[in-house]
């Protein structure tokens, strides 16, 4: 369980760096994400319902299920299954018997518990986190929430409480339970931009344009979505304001030809995208307002799918067909210092990790006529060019996108002609499907 090397051997790509690398640095993919650390054994007690409001049972059910899933999804816990947990639902620190939770079969080091009530249309939740082995001063967290009583809010409050626990126990990295995923869905008949919670709940359409819209990218402040949309003269980059609920102007994105695959810089001030306006598709950068447009590359062949280094906002990775089939490259934002990262096959759809260290991308290492065509998701350490394959023998995988915690990746998987959105931990474990209705594509994880 602890050693990923047994199941996912790491192959060294760059011969030049081979000699310089320590031979047994197998936890490289976990650096900064705590994924490789020993997992904390944690239990989530069912919350105690308080009062007789008829809304309470349904809200409690939504809350309990969401909190349990959030802690299970976090990637840093060994979550006590419900069948091993005590039946008790302690509603306060006075009511909990910590010994009951630390003993077998639960063996929990930490336990989350509390009380929930619905009163006069308000949802009130008290949540605690106790360290079961610290009998003198067990309380790690105590939180109170008072919100409108609704299913949505019950889930939201559970997400907030889960994120508090994850922040406290996960090395100071914010949890992702309150983040969103933007994606393309064709379930209404045309490809539109959709939004959902990180766990697949609350799926709803954002755009209703009736054309084909692709490649949604949410701005770092969650206010605008940039995407590509088919118009009369080709593909335009359009931007949609979530605050105003309508399209807002992005003049640099319309020029005829194919303007596509936008990417926000981490500070939200710039958008990079691919445009064919010069007669060949190149990477261009504009201010977020759509002004100050400049071209970055001048390379024959398709140049698409830029992604910024979100730590520096000074480098861009992208996919280029300059030598034939597309490969992943990095460069400075002015086009200097181009470096090729993949050596062969068909590599597209890079996404730069929030800590700046890794790229995840889709790669078919044996692409070609007659080849079976298994496109999988990979993570590469940019400095060493060492990579790890995250998906294996399951459909055609594309469009990976990092979660802000560095620990999770969302991606598209097509099986039998239908595409769905999946998420996983950034070591390839914990894969689960988030969408089931229609076909869904090109997910993009929000920045916070």
């Amino acid at each position: 369980m602890k050693s990923h090397s047994r199941l996912f051997p790491i192959f060294l790509v760059a011969l030049a760096t081979l000699a310089a690398l320590p031979a047994a640095a197998q936890d490289w993919v976990h650096t900064g994400s705590n994924l490789g650390n020993e997992r904390i054994r944690i239990a989530a007690a069912d919350f105690k319902p308080v009062g007789a409001d008829p809304q309470t049972p349904a809200l409690k059910a939504a809350f309990d299920a969401t909190l349990y899933d959030d802690l299970g999804n976090a990637g840093i816990f060994d979550l006590v299954s419900k069948s091993m947990a005590p039946q008790a639902a302690p509603g306060s620190p006075q009511e909990i018997s910590l010994q009951q939770w630390s003993a077998a079969p639960a063996n929990a080091a930490m336990v989350a518990f509390g009380a929930l009530s619905a009163t006069n249309g308000r949802l009130v939740v008290y949540g605690w986190l106790d360290d079961t082995r610290n009998t003198v001063n067990p309380q790690v967290l105590g939180k109170q929430y008072n919100e409108e009583a609704s299913q949505d809010m019950a889930r939201t409050v559970a997400h907030r409480f889960a994120d508090e626990i994850i922040l406290r126990l996960g090395g100071g990295i914010n949890g992702i339970a309150e983040t969103k995923i933007y994606f393309v869905s064709s379930r209404s008949g045309t490809k539109e931009i959709w939004e959902m919670d990180y766990d697949g709940q609350n799926q709803h359409a954002v755009t209703h344009l009736g054309t084909i819209s692709l490649s949604p990218r949410i701005s770092p402040d969650n206010s605008r979505i940039a995407f590509a949309s088919l118009g009369h003269n080709g593909w335009d980059i359009r931007t949609y304001s979530l605050e105003l609920g309508r399209l807002v102007s992005f003049p640099a994105g319309t020029a005829g030809g194919s303007n596509q695959s936008p990417a926000w810089s981490g500070d939200g001030t710039k958008i990079a995208f691919s445009s064919s306006r010069s007669g060949d598709s190149e990477i261009w950068v504009a201010d977020a307002s759509g002004g100050n447009l400049r071209s970055v590359t001048s390379i024959r062949g398709p140049n698409i799918a830029p992604t910024w280094n979100p730590r520096t906002n000074a480098q861009i990775a992208w996919a280029s067909g300059r030598t034939g089939e597309p490969q992943i490259y990095t460069m400075d934002q002015d086009g200097a210092n181009m470096q090729r990262l993949t050596d062969s096959g068909y590599a597209v759809s890079p996404s730069w990790s929030p800590n700046g260290q890794f790229l995840t991308f889709a790669w078919d290492r044996k692409y070609g006529p007659g080849a079976p065509g298994g496109r999988d998701i990979y993570v590469m350490d940019i400095a060493s060019k060492r990579w790890l394959q995250l998906t294996h023998d399951a459909g055609i995988n594309d469009y990976p996108s990092w979660a802000p915690d560095n620990r999770h990746i969302v991606f598209e998987r097509a099986v039998g002609g239908r595409s769905q959105i999946w998420s996983m931990l950034s070591d390839g474990t914990g894969q689960h499907q988030l969408t089931e209705t229609g076909s869904n594509f090109m997910p993009n994880w929000s920045w916070k």
Binding site: L7, G234, A305, T429, E436, T437
Partner: protein, 246 residues
């Protein structure tokens, strides 16, 4: 191995479940609070004409229309029609055709008047090809090799014929659509389809067709002509498609 099974078995079950239950499932009921406000899209525009505008009873009239930003277009008495198109009608009396284009940004209307004179003429032979049929018969698609946008030798001859038809029909405008097979990634295929369409555009311009008569759109793999995963089908999809720009 156990761990792999733990991943694979649920995945396989999920896939099986979706295969069994997913297809016939009704779309989830969307509560009102989940419906995002509609975008303010540009207002639709509509152009609509009838040629000739004056005919004898029994003669054919060609209605042609072109709309932008419209999602549904209908003509009174005909019903729903594509957002752009042509249709041949045979009005028995003077008629005003009324077209309504509706889109996210509102609606647009246009009318086309046909005056019908006198008694029915002698039956008109129907063997004359419409402009669209003639275009299709003379301007043919070209095909590309895998993951390339170079014009093949066999396509050079096709493009020469396409160019000479366009040279002899200076009123015809053309849309070149660039298409790809299903194997690549959507974004890369948009760029590849653009390069394929641009390659044909450049060849037509070199052959003397005015650039202003050519509109280019990359469809990548978004609008496949053929949907099977076979080499024959992929070849059909790796193409430039030519249509009249209405």
């Amino acid at each position: 191995m156990n761990r792999l099974n733990r991943i694979l078995v649920p995945v396989a079950l999920l896939i099986a479940l979706i295969t069994v239950a997913g297809c016939g499932k009704k779309p989830k009921h969307v509560p009102a609070s989940e419906t995002a406000p509609a975008a303010i899209a540009p207002a639709p525009t509509a152009q609509f004409s009838a040629t000739p505008a004056q005919v004898a009873a029994g003669d054919q009239v060609q209605l042609s229309w072109h709309t932008t930003e419209a999602t549904t277009v209908s003509i009174d008495g005909i019903g729903d029609v594509p957002t752009s198109g042509v249709k041949t009608v045979t009005p028995s009396e003077s008629t005003t055709y009324h077209l309504v284009a509706k889109g996210d940004g509102g609606s647009a209307e246009a009318t086309a008047r046909v005056i019908v004179n006198g008694p029915p003429a002698v039956e008109v032979p129907t063997t004359t090809m419409s402009a669209e049929e003639a275009f299709k018969a003379n301007v043919q698609d070209i095909f590309f090799d895998y993951d390339t946008y170079d014009i093949r030798a066999d396509s050079q001859a096709t493009l020469s014929k396409d160019a000479s038809y366009l040279a002899s029909h200076p009123d015809v405008k053309v849309v070149i659509g660039g298409y790809c097979d299903e194997r690549g990634s959507n974004e890369y295929n948009l760029a590849l389809g653009q390069n394929r369409a641009d390659a044909a555009r450049n060849a037509l311009i070199t052959a003397g067709v005015a650039a202003s008569r050519i509109r280019v759109i990359s469809y990548g793999k978004e609008k496949p002509f053929c949907s099977e995963s076979t080499e024959e089908c992929w070849q059909l999809n790796r193409r430039d498609g030519f249509t009249i720009d209405q």
